[in-house]
Symmetry: C2
Subunit: 254 residues, 2 copies
DNA sequence: ACAGGCGGTCGACATTGTCGACCGCAGTGG
DNA sequence: CCACTGCGGTCGACAATGTCGACCGCCTGT
């Protein structure tokens, strides 16, 4: 039976729809958005609600995502091998660099942040775990595109969305950049996604040299860069953290 | 059609199964555990995999939860109204009390932590957002049981699991405790779940006085208690934070 | 009082998911 | 070295199952 289960695909589409829209959605909105009969949409929503994946506001009758998703998402992190092995290295890296550290993996057409170490100072920061970042304009994303053919495939031929004046929007530019990244073994992104923010990333591989993710440090341009280039000492820190995690993954199984 | 959609319920059961077992599970394990035909289980798993809810280790063929769950779980938090309104108050409470702050809601037979503010000092701490805690032995749980009939219903008649010598394990004891909690308006839990840990919780209500969750502070017995009782000043801080959040929810809609 | 929208229900229909036998492969122990 | 046993995965027949669109009661704004 090589074909997806219809009701399941539809349920997934509904959850993604609910995740996308910032506000709660009514039954009819869901039905028309996905081109389903109201009865069908209702049946799926009722089941999802019963399972805790969706909740219904009792007075408006509108639907939103449910708590069970948070619980299962947490379980995903618990099992995640890359994350488990990277925890301590990421912490050390943040301490050494004095900047925010992200650990990201390829997911669909973006980078999914699976770990986030706050900058050591105590300014108020928002946890980014579970959020998505673009592939073509972040350091982690570009590392993945450079080394993982799947990531390159997901990216397509562009043109890519421009976030700042420095965002690379053409496939040609980006492929050239990726060649450079492969040559030197690390990627940077200076104000390509957010004004004033620079980051440096390096690849993490498993024991068979498959790319499985990337680490990066992330901070204000003034601290990460010097004379218009990222500081070599930070590059060294990131690369050695990535190597350490890769080594850990390589030895760790079995 | 008032009946759950079979394939969806089964898919949910599979995901919960994968979340429960610490390790990856094989197709046959899943099928026998849930009493499904292998073909059926495979069809569901294939669809879940395609949607990103489940991933398959390419060399062992075993299944684990997928990244999409993390992303959707994050979206759940983004929409969560209680959490959004509580963010700043929880932060202030943590600062004022100098202790860890949790924000929890009832989910199934437990407390789901939806927000966690680290203790202001910089010791290494693990983020508990998305994890579950018991209803009968934590301060948040007991507050919910005391005020929310649904929570009391979920708890059942016991006996409840014992974690330390001070855990209340009988329905009678617990109901008496709940009466006390309702009378004075707050709950505590001193070493009822973890040795050496004490916490104080208060209820959060929405604009129609329905219980929707609770805040608590959590810290070592030596700092939270004095002469064998929790410090009144901390109780006052927690209660005023809970009132502030409730007020925020009450005024906030529309 | 009405019209229009909502969430939710119902029952007939046939699409759809389910089942259990079967396949090829890998590891294993005789 | 070769049955043998377990695995993940496939196949096709069958009927149970999810789907559809009309319908219901309710609330809201007019």
């Amino acid at each position: 039976m090589p074909g997806p289960i219809q009701s399941l695909s539809r349920a997934a589409a509904i959850m993604r729809l609910l995740a996308g829209g910032e506000r709660r959605l009514g039954l009819s909105e869901v039905a028309t958005a996905l081109d389903l009969a109201k009865g069908t949409a209702h049946g799926i929503l009722r089941t999802l609600q019963q399972e805790g994946f969706v909740e219904q506001d009792p007075e408006s009758g509108k639907y939103q995502l449910g708590a069970e998703l948070l619980r299962l998402g947490q379980s995903y992190l618990d099992v995640h091998e890359l994350r488990a092995r990277a925890l301590v290295w990421a912490d050390d890296l943040a301490r050494a660099a004095g900047e925010t550290v992200y650990l990201g993996v390829l997911h669909q057409q973006g980078v999914l942040i699976v770990h986030h170490v706050f900058r050591p100072d105590d300014t108020r920061q928002v946890l980014e775990v579970g959020s998505m970042q673009p592939l073509h304009s972040t350091a982690i994303g570009k590392v993945l595109v450079a080394y993982d053919p799947v990531a390159r495939g997901e990216l397509g031929d562009g043109p890519y969305e421009s976030y700042t004046l420095r965002t690379l929007t053409g496939a040609g530019e980006l492929d050239a950049e990726c060649a450079l990244i492969r040559e030197r073994g690390w990627a940077d992104s200076v104000e390509e996604t957010w004004e004033g923010v620079a980051s440096i990333a390096a690849l993490i591989q498993d024991r068979r040299r498959n790319p499985v993710g990337a680490v990066c440090i992330n901070g204000p341009v003034e601290r990460v860069c010097e004379d218009g280039f990222v500081k070599p000492s930070l590059v060294a820190s990131v690369r050695s953290a990535a190597r350490a995690i890769s080594r850990d993954l390589g030895a760790g199984r079995f």
